[in-house]
């Protein structure tokens, strides 16, 4: 008697047939036996698999109003091509990204007006203090670097971010095992039970930020996250007074990929955590459907300091809202060697003395 529907063996993937003698489904390739209901259940589990749908509505932001742009000057950097804006009362002289002089380009123009802005909460003095603290306790930082006084050149910049809001519909399938071991007088037994585990559900993401400035390294901006979105206000040009503003030059379409990557990872992790009580869990497939994806354009406050040392550019950034300070620092190679070999010497002698003591006992 052959089964009407063809099933695939969950163990080896071969076509599986009904074995009338044992009244069970049996795989002719790997000899694994299954109950009929098991295979039917597994089959319906497989039918849950879907392709990803991670599309977004890109209708974000609105156009500038005619009178708004009048009060904003645009500058362009002679060196890196960075384009920044500030209100007409603030004079920008140096590029916040590379430290080179900037020239006035004239009237600011931009495709989109930001939807939101998070105003600066931490002032310049606190930012300087945070930078000083950032240098502290780092033994491998060159002394010269600490002593050279660049701290005055710290600048407050509004960095453009794309914010992604969406509800994610997640379907996951895992292969999981439970392992049990026991022994009798002659043999050790290991039993491995295999399970098909399915999880599905919904999850909402709000304001996943992706930096919209090409001059801002993405990892630097992701390092000063998170920004607290509860303090967001509707954009007004007045907030730009005294600060520089960067204009987005990576559009939302190109930023989507990064947002999707992060959303997918978080969604999958969240559902994986609900698979409990197994020895091993392996993800087989996972699909994410995004619903009501919405993109908005916002300016986030960042204190920036660009420093050139030994021909290399070091960019430090501080979250202007939470005070989180990041920035890779140079390594003092001589100090590193001193520590490495000094420690090796001291520890080596100590260990040698200990080994001698053990020998004496």
């Amino acid at each position: 008697m052959a089964a009407i529907q063809e099933y695939k063996c969950p163990c080896c993937g071969g076509a599986i047939a009904f074995d009338s003698t044992i009244q069970k489904m049996k795989c002719p390739y790997c000899d694994t036996e299954f109950k009929m209901e098991t295979l039917a259940g597994y089959d319906s589990e497989l039918r849950n698999d879907q392709a990803d749908d991670m599309r977004w509505e890109m209708a974000s932001g609105e156009a500038w109003q005619a009178d708004e742009l009048g009060g904003i000057n645009a500058y362009v950097c002679q060196s890196c091509g960075g384009e920044i804006a500030c209100d007409e009362n603030t004079a920008a002289t140096a590029c916040p990204f590379c430290g080179n002089p900037v020239v006035l380009m004239g009237q600011f123009s931009g495709e989109l007006r930001p939807d939101f802005v998070i105003p600066f909460k931490i002032d310049k003095r606190a930012a300087k203090e945070a930078l000083r603290k950032h240098y502290e306790g780092k033994r491998l930082l060159p002394k010269v670097f600490k002593d050279q006084n660049h701290i005055n050149e710290i600048k407050g910049v509004y960095v453009p971010f794309w914010l992604f809001d969406t509800a994610a519909d997640v379907q996951m399938r895992y292969k999981a095992t439970k392992v049990r071991t026991w022994s009798d007088s002659k043999y050790d037994y290991t039993e491995t039970k295999f399970y098909a585990v399915g999880r599905g559900g919904k999850l909402r993401f709000e304001h996943v930020p992706v930096d919209g400035s090409a001059k801002m390294p993405d990892d630097l901006m992701e390092s000063i996250e998170p920004f607290d979105f509860s303090e967001v206000v509707d954009f007004q040009t007045a907030y730009l007074a005294g600060y520089l503003a960067d204009k987005y030059d990576v559009d939302a379409e190109r930023s989507v990929e990064r947002a999707n990557e992060r959303i997918r990872r978080s969604a999958e992790d969240a559902f994986s955590e609900t698979v409990k009580g197994y020895t091993t869990v392996t993800k087989e497939t996972g699909s994410i459907q995004l619903q009501n994806g919405k993109v908005s354009y916002a300016l986030f406050p960042v204190w920036l300091l660009s420093t050139t040392w030994n021909g290399q550019n070091y960019l430090f950034a501080m979250n202007g809202q939470t005070g989180r300070m990041v920035g890779d620092l140079p390594l003092d190679k001589a100090a590193y060697k001193k520590w490495l070999f000094g420690l090796t010497g001291i520890l080596g002698m100590a260990l040698f003395a200990v080994s001698y003591l053990f020998w004496l006992l």
Binding site: G41, Q171, S185, F194, V197, R199, F271, G348, W359
Partner: protein, 277 residues
């Protein structure tokens, strides 16, 4: 005159004492052969005399024969029988128990054999003999016979000295290995270097604060997660059966140490061990 008489009597007594001493005293080892018998002629003359002197010195000091014999052939005997008989019929051994140890080397089949007798059975336990043989067999294998025999003699000296304290070297307390300076220093430095790499690595890590975020966990709306499907479907099972490994450790831990003995053709009890080199 009294003083002269007394002096003569004293001299006489000393003479009698010395006669008795030489007749019945130290040389109670009535061996027919020297303590080094190099029939296979493996040693140079100078090596032979140096080793011979050493064996004599150790033997007399401990009142315990330490004998080294090299032969070309065992003449059809096993090494153990040959060694025991060589010891018995050549009259080695101090005292009634015929205390001594003999190391036999036969070049024909490259056999070595240790035979212990009397106090030797106590002083050189099976574990002790294994310890000693490990330290001369390599030298034998490469043909450095003088070094092997000198090693043997020095170790015998140490073992007898230890046995005289009432606690011979045995399975649970063998001579301590000398402190290996170079090895210990090298290991200490390597471990120290690895630890230093980790410590300085952490210090380097403090300089780097820029890291990408791979997830968006901060932006999940609180309480927005709803699990609508939760299936845990049992599919199949595999059972793996593996035969337990034979447990030898029980017999090993049951070894009480000491020496196993056997009787030789002359009826004397011997301990011993043998092997190839």
């Amino acid at each position: 005159m009294r003083t002269l008489n007394q002096r003569i009597r004293t001299v006489f007594l000393v003479f009698v004492f010395f006669c008795a001493f030489f007749l019945f005293g130290i040389p109670s080892s009535a061996a027919d052969l020297p303590r080094l018998v190099d029939q296979a002629d493996l040693l140079t003359d100078s090596e032979e005399s140096a080793l011979s002197d050493r064996l004599d010195e150790i033997s007399e000091r401990h009142q315990f024969d330490v004998v080294v014999v090299t032969v070309d052939s065992l003449e059809g005997e096993t090494a153990v029988v040959y060694a025991d008989d060589f010891y018995d019929y050549n009259g080695y051994g101090f005292g009634d128990e015929r205390d001594g140890i003999l190391l036999l080397i036969s070049m024909e089949e490259r056999d070595w054999c240790i035979s212990t007798t009397g106090y030797g059975i106590t002083a050189f336990t099976d574990a002790g003999q294994a310890y000693i043989s490990e330290r001369f067999v390599t030298d034998l294998s490469v043909g450095d016979y003088a070094a092997a025999f000198t090693n043997f003699a020095v170790l015998c000296d140490a073992f007898i000295t230890q046995a005289d304290t009432g606690e011979p070297y045995d399975i649970d307390h063998l001579p301590q290995e000398p402190f290996d300076l170079v090895w210990n220093l090298a290991v200490a430095l390597i471990i120290a270097f690895v630890i230093s790499l980790i410590v300085t690595g952490i210090m380097r890590g403090q300089l780097k604060t820029v890291h990408s975020q791979s997830e968006a966990d901060n932006y999940i709306k609180q309480g927005s997660m709803h699990l609508t499907r939760k299936n845990d479907l049992y599919l199949y099972r595999h059972v793996d059966r593996r035969k337990k490994a034979e447990n030898n450790s029980s017999t090993r831990s049951g070894n009480p140490g000491g020496s196993q003995t056997h009787k030789s053709s002359s009826g004397t009890t011997h301990g011993g061990s043998s092997g190839k080199f």
